[in-house]
Symmetry: C2
Subunit: 425 residues, 2 copies
């Protein structure tokens, strides 16, 4: 119909599983997530449907399964058993159903549809928004380019670490650790996500202890080492903490994106003068069940709309569950174009040390990333400076296409890292 | 140890599955979520550990399984296969690790632990916070009692409905529908979660169209029909919209809690003068995989901490996936004590009509609930007023312990509902 093709739409792609034919399940989702209900209603005119109704634009069948991936009491009551159809479907939603409203966008593409009795599997794979719609959201203010500019690092990954032990250090102990990390010429330091404003190390005291150390090293280095201090908290606290960071010369703030939430991150973004380091802790709960939740492809777009500049993607051969292929796919998504927004920095961490650099570079074909090692830097046998040096040397080797062990022959820091962490990996 | 028992702690209970012994997996989680990392570090003194370390306080083994519920590339690299242990574990965290910070609490009980390679299943079952800790969060301002007071309804459930079609109605059409619902003596009306501020029905115009209708009926009824208008959006928009609602005499605001997020809901709660109707759309993605995500028991506590007054729990024999037992358990959780906070209103909806009242009352043993029917009211064969009447009559029968069909003999509205919806159920 002409009216449909003239509507401005955005699209969402799902993998679904259902005891019903996939076409029917997809129609239920499209109806439920736009103008439908379980009865034909007086107000639901043809004109309203034409304007508001989502439409199924594509169905790619997949092989069926014989056990439901997820339980549906609704399907059980109807005696559904035996075969469960699977398919990838694409649904187009009118932009005017939603407007430039992140929570409405989420309610539409990731809302009650996960609850539908008709689905025994439903995963949001990706979303596709036209650029003029994307432009109505804040989007990242800094992204890769701005992160590099604030850090004063070009042409190589930002090498970083996490304050460890995760929690328990006093402000003075934190400052001491930051001092040793800066003395080691590190590019980037972040708080652990567990730490924000505990009574033993209140935010203000921690900031006051750390910032003079950073500024002192900035004078020496000619660039400010980036400290992503965790400002996660209430909306007012986050803005106040952001302002304290900026006033003290800080160049980054970190938030636990899932737990402060989309509206708070968007609010912070509209206010923020420094890049927002997006920590995705809790993400595993959204994605580890393959027939539920969502793919990172969709997830990172949502946080890009809200305005995150850096986003975690785990690491190769990490201590986490995620297969390496999935990690690489996530990092590529962060660096891929999305509706005119600036690419954002993928942040690799968990069980990282110099050893992952060659494969990471070979697979990502980019140095636009942050490579964070905890014990891999702080636990280096020759000390923190050697830990940082080993990471940088590994990236030099990776970019030059030189074998890591060969490159380590004249470089004791890298050699010691390989000797210690290579065996553990 | 004395130091440990003197610490103030909160607890989280999980069901975990692991290729490792459950004790070891639990220790990994406790370490990872407090002061641990993968190497022993210089700063990790015994004193720091004593102060900061989470501890495993209980392990209840469950029968093992022979296939992992969730994939772990980490476990695969180590050749783990064959048997995966399961158990329920309880972990105690020092309150001082976190403070009164919702996002830090979440990062602690529901953060990176979902990603750990050591777990092939992890579900947060419940959290237990001491009352003096709970008191440091906002908590619901209204809850059951305040919701009843604002609605002017005592001693029976609030009968309500959802504006349908979900989206597409103009402000004038919405007002017309609200008028007919109020004329039918309805207690409660809510927006669909898909609708907030679309260009075809901007929030302000919708409010301006609807509020005079509500006020007019309030004069007639001696109570203001509650309209939970969806204010979901940016932080500033939500506060502004809340203020518009209050100024216009409104008595409720609705938000999509998962998608505006914890910090925004907490922010709204500190500002709000009317109850917050918590819509949990998206919740299915957090809970439908039995070995991932979280139980509603934990979820509702988090939103109670943030300050939600009403929270959706699905409905008996709904069109959603959820088994009825789970729905009842959720509703009981909302009504159960939690650290001195006021109980909140469970909101039943989806595929509801008069017919669910007797079982709902028999199982919940309470009328402290909101019972929402969409088509079950608006689609009643004798019209909306008969739809509302049928719901109320069904609850009268339920509370009196009279058989629904008997009760319907002298009550045409209820009889017609049974005739129409009883067959479809």
């Amino acid at each position: 119909m002409v009216q449909q093709s003239e509507r401005s739409e955005f699209r969402a792609r799902y993998r679904i599983e259902s005891p019903e034919p996939i076409r029917k399940a997809a129609d239920v989702i499209a109806g439920e997530q736009s103008s439908g209900t379980f009865l034909a209603l007086a107000g639901e005119t043809e004109e309203l449907k034409r304007r508001s109704r989502a439409r199924v634009t594509r169905i790619d069948p997949l092989p069926p399964v014989h056990e439901p991936s997820l339980r549906s009491a609704w399907a059980e009551r109807r005696g559904h058993a035996g075969v469960f159809q699977r398919g990838e479907v694409e649904i187009a939603f009118p932009i005017d159903n939603v407007g430039a409203n992140l929570s409405s966008l989420m309610a539409t593409v990731a809302g009650n549809l996960f609850e539908l009795g008709e689905v025994t599997g439903l995963r949001l794979l990706d979303i596709d928004l036209p650029p003029d719609y994307v432009a109505r959201f804040p989007g990242p203010r800094f992204g890769v380019e701005g992160t590099r500019r604030m850090a004063g690092i070009q042409g190589r990954p930002l090498i970083g670490t996490i304050i460890k032990p995760s929690i328990g250090l006093t402000p003075a102990q934190t400052a001491e650790l930051v001092d040793s990390l800066c003395a080691a010429d590190i590019d980037f330091i972040k708080d652990d996500e567990l730490l924000a404003d505990p009574p033993y190390a209140p935010f203000g005291e921690r900031l006051d202890a750390v910032m003079p150390v950073l500024r002192r090293h900035a004078d020496r280095l000619g660039r400010m080492p980036v400290y992503a201090i965790n400002i996660s908290g209430s909306v007012d606290e986050m803005l106040r903490r952001h302002d304290l960071v900026v006033r003290a010369g800080g160049t980054c703030v970190m938030v636990s994106v899932n737990w402060v939430g989309l509206a708070a991150v968007e609010h912070l973004r509209r206010h923020a003068e420094v890049p927002i380091h997006g920590h995705r802790n809790g993400w595993g709960a959204f994605t580890r069940c393959p027939e539920l939740g969502m793919d990172f492809a969709a997830y990172q777009k949502l946080w890009r709309l809200a305005g995150v500049d850096q986003l975690h993607v785990n690491g190769l051969r990490s201590k986490f569950w995620e297969p390496d292929d999935s990690v690489i796919t996530s990092a590529r998504a962060c660096l891929a174009p999305f509706g005119g927004t600036t690419p954002i920095m993928p942040v690799f961490s968990s069980g990282q040390w110099a050893g992952q650099a060659p494969e990471l570079y070979a697979r990502l074909a980019s140095v636009d990333l942050m490579h964070l090692a905890g014990g891999g830097i702080i636990g280096h046998p020759q000390g923190t400076a050697a830990g940082v040096a080993s990471m940088r040397e590994a990236w030099e080797a990776a970019v030059a296409g030189v074998d890591l062990v060969d490159y380590a022959r004249q470089r004791p820091a890298l050699a010691a890292a390989i000797a210690k962490f290579g065996e553990a990996a």
